[in-house]
Symmetry: C2
Subunit: 137 residues, 2 copies
Amino acid sequence: MTPDHPTDQNAVRNLDSPRQLADWAQTLVAHHKRQLASPAPSPRPAGIDDSSSASLHRTWDDLSAGFVSLQHKNLLVDGADPAVLATAFMAALQGGYLLSAIARHTGPLEIAVEMALRQVARSLTDEPPRPHDRSHR
Amino acid sequence: MTPDHPTDQNAVRNLDSPRQLADWAQTLVAHHKRQLASPAPSPRPAGIDDSSSASLHRTWDDLSAGFVSLQHKNLLVDGADPAVLATAFMAALQGGYLLSAIARHTGPLEIAVEMALRQVARSLTDEPPRPHDRSHR
């Protein structure tokens, strides 16, 4: 349910572009695929304890910071809420993990990640980032 | 993780309109809200066993049948895959359940359901359903 995240969380917290988010998600999918393919099968999803709950909260916090970073770069439309975007993304990831662990392939996680990235895309401005724009609204 | 579903699964399997899907999801949210508000708090999400895995598969199968039903009523765009739509919807529901159970409020589930319904909306035709159209492509 809460695979260890092999990714650079700082990259998520300081997102420069939506592309980085997609790359981060792709890294998670690839990591999960290796886990499912390992000779020692990962156990079925366990319940949530304090440790996994804290891990989930950290990842949510990283994602939320990442969306705030996009907002500061004027890449999010007005009204887009970084906390809501992070929650939707986390829900897709966790549901995708669960269904993939049961199915023992990453198809469901990939479908869920695509849904999550499309949800984010709806909140992106069309304008390209302005270079050297350091203004934090 | 897999709350009992208080809803009429036949209504899901024989979807006449996307509105029915939204109503079904809303019933799940309301049910989960009552569970979280009950004096006897529901336990933390447990792991996945054979029983909950079978329950998840049944719900996925109901949703998939529902999207096939929409497809037969010409309400889905060409290329929309009922199985993929069902997987994305299930991932959102399950991730939403998990985050809501940890947060002890249904906010995350509501956010996840909204994302899932928007994902479905992307696959809908614009044309209104033709009355008495019983053709099954």
